[in-house]
């Protein structure tokens, strides 16, 4: 097994009837590494995440996640592979408002047997795993677990989303602008908690944002425009 978690080579993608959006000769993310990927909106960032998640397939080239060639899998196998090995945190409104905080955190365990069994192995039960993760992320209050997710503040909601991404120890956590709705101090605090939890779980973190000021906190920082040969000069 190689030390690379993600490796892209010679990747090309274009939406049907549109110009080439992504042309990435090579890119790797190491296991346990935290990477800041800078990309303004419209730079193909969302598409890249879609490719990594196996929701879209590239026109050419290869995407390997945990040494598995994604395009070799069927669509439903890709879906399963994604949830087994990847946790997601999005910008805002990440949670299902009609479920409790606990149920939101436990969602991936209902769709991935692997993550459910890892959560049980490590914490004894899925409920315990959710409670522990939330406590580590600063949501210690026991009553909070059973509250509806939309009763929480945005900062709290993002921490719940982080707990959900981390439950069952996926190898990769992908965060897409998770801090853009938070104020500056909260951003850094949130990131520190996220780093700590990723380290503990041994997960790699791929963090996508346009906010360059956060880059210094990561192991490595890259710009999508540098990576992507198809990027138009104005975006560089």
């Amino acid at each position: 097994m190689s030390s690379a978690l993600i490796s892209l080579s010679n990747l090309g993608f274009a939406w049907p009837g549109q110009a080439q959006l992504l042309d990435i000769p090579s890119f790797t993310l190491q296991r346990g590494e935290s990477l800041f990927l800078k990309g303004p909106s419209g730079s193909g960032k969302t598409t890249l995440l879609g490719l990594l998640g196996g929701v879209q397939t590239p026109n050419r080239g290869s995407i390997r996640l945990l040494d598995q060639e994604l395009s070799a899998l069927s669509a439903s196998a890709r879906d399963r592979f994604r949830v087994d090995h990847t946790g997601y945190i999005f910008q805002q409104f990440n949670l299902l408002p009609f479920l409790s905080v606990r149920e939101n955190v436990e969602l991936p365990c209902h769709f991935s047997r692997l993550r459910a069994s890892r959560a049980i192995q490590r914490h004894g039960s899925i409920d315990q795993a959710a409670a522990t993760l939330l406590a580590h992320l600063g949501l210690k209050e026991p009553t909070l677990l059973e509250r509806r997710a939309d009763e929480l503040s945005i900062g709290q909601q993002q921490r719940v989303a982080a707990a959900r991404a981390l439950i069952g120890q996926p190898e990769l956590v992908i965060a897409d602008e998770p801090t853009s709705a938070l104020d500056f101090d909260a951003r850094e605090a949130f990131l520190q908690l996220l780093f700590a939890e990723c380290r503990e779980a041994g997960a790699s973190l791929l963090f996508v944002s346009h906010d360059q000021s956060l880059a210094r906190l990561f192991d490595r920082s890259l710009s999508l425009a540098e990576l992507n040969r198809a990027a138009t000069p104005t975006e560089v």
Binding site: L49, R80, F98
Partner: protein
């Protein structure tokens, strides 16, 4: 199971629309079942009205008309028939029993029927059930005795021994009353669920006594008046009756006797087979009944389309929900199943609430419907046919759920994990 939990939680989040949808389905289901019950019950009670009678004979008119006045106490005879015609056929060698019927009077809206004791002995309804006298006895020799149908006794609260006055004619409000000759209640029949319940039975002699002093359709005055006491001593043999029922020794003779009656030279008679005439009458009403059923089916369809609209409208605002589910590992078919489950849950809740409404409605309206329309609505569990109808509604809902499911499936494939704000 977990998908069901998610579907219900999501529905709970939209509970106002969901409740409205459920209520619309419930009302339509309730209507369909109510129509179905009334329909079945009407048909059954209709077919149960008369049994064991081989021929009904009256003055020549239409067969449906004859059936209506002789059995259902609806409408009037156009003509009477002579007593000697009745006697002639009552003594016919093929005839086992004959029941004379004389109509024309009423009591507070209920019809009065003059007949002979043979009526209590030979008349059958439903599956060859004889009439049962619940209290008292049949009328005997005294002409001024009356036997009440169950509903007459109950609605007007009559007991044995009470006296009542009959009215001339069959209008609910009658101006001419036979108040000089009161009748006393000697018997009350058990409930039959047929027009018998709404009839007052007197002897032919009683019927004759009421009209013995009448001339040209008007009561006598002054010296012409015959008192009840005087009437008792008169010869009260009727000269005319309205119709009669015949039971034959052998069913095989039915058609030949029918022809004999219809070709009778003494006076124009009409003999009908009750079963055939009932069929004819029901085919008249059957159209309305079928129309009602079809209308209520369409109401159910409308309810389901309402549900479809509600789910489809919600799809767009739930793109985020779908994308979140996709990001935590739900596959497109999970998303599709969620929507089908949602449709099914709404329809199931609608059906259950509809059943509840139906039973509440039956409990509430049972007495009223029975008293006014003679229809007994049973509080039974749904019949196999009703279960089948409910099953068909649920299947239709499942089928309709496929439409939003398919759209959500496509949508979630296109949207992937990204939530476009």
């Amino acid at each position: 199971m977990y998908l069901l939990r998610l579907a219900l939680a999501s529905l709970g989040n939209r509970r106002f629309t969901a409740l409205l949808t459920v209520f619309a389905i419930a009302l339509s289901v309730c209507l369909l079942l109510a129509v179905e019950r009334v329909r079945t019950e009407a048909r059954a009670s209709f077919a149960n009205t008369i049994s064991g009678t081989d021929l009904i004979v009256g003055a020549r008119s239409g067969s449906v008309n004859l059936l209506l006045y002789s059995v259902f106490r609806i409408g009037n005879a156009t003509n009477n028939i002579r007593w000697d015609s009745f006697e002639r056929f009552a003594d016919h060698r093929q005839v086992k029993w004959a029941i004379p019927i004389s109509l024309g009077d009423s009591h507070r809206g209920y019809r009065v029927m003059g007949t002979s004791p043979a009526y209590f002995e030979h008349f059958r309804y439903a599956r060859s059930q004889p009439l049962q006298i619940g209290q008292g006895r049949a009328f005997a020799d005294d002409p001024f005795e009356v036997v009440l149908g169950a509903e007459v006794a109950k609605a007007l609260d009559y007991r044995l021994g009470e006296e009542l006055v009959l009215a001339h004619g069959v209008a609910t409000i009658s101006l001419v009353k036979h108040d000089d000759k009161p009748f006393s209640v000697v018997g009350i029949l058990e409930r039959t669920g047929t027009p018998v319940d709404r009839t007052l039975h007197i002897s032919l002699a009683g019927m004759e006594a009421l009209h013995v002093d009448w001339q040209n359709g008007m009561p006598a005055r002054g010296a012409g008046v015959v008192s009840a006491e005087q009437a008792r001593s008169l010869d009260l043999q009727p000269k005319q009756i309205t119709a009669f029922l015949l039971g034959l020794n052998s069913k095989i003779a039915t058609f030949s006797l029918q022809r004999e009656l219809n070709e009778f030279r003494g006076e124009p008679l009409l003999a009908i087979l009750p079963g055939v005439a009932l069929q004819e009458l029901w085919s008249l009403m059957g159209t309305a009944e079928k129309a009602l059923f079809v209308v209520s089916l369409f109401v159910v369809l409308t309810g389901l389309i309402g549900m479809l609209t509600a789910i489809l409208t919600s799809l767009n605002e739930r793109r985020r929900e779908m994308a979140i589910l996709r990001s935590v590992g739900a596959r497109p078919w999970h998303i599709a199943s969620l929507l089908i489950l949602e449709a099914f849950a709404l329809a199931l809740a609608g059906v259950l609430l509809g059943l509840l409404l139906l039973y509440l409605g039956i409990v509430g309206a049972q007495g009223h419907v029975q008293a006014n329309y003679g229809l007994y609505l049973p509080l039974d569990l749904p019949t196999a046919y009703e279960w089948a109808l409910l099953g068909a509604i649920l299947s239709a809902a499942l089928l309709m759920g496929c439409v939003p499911a398919w759209r959500a499936y496509r949508q979630s494939l296109a949207d992937g994990l990204s939530i476009r704000l």
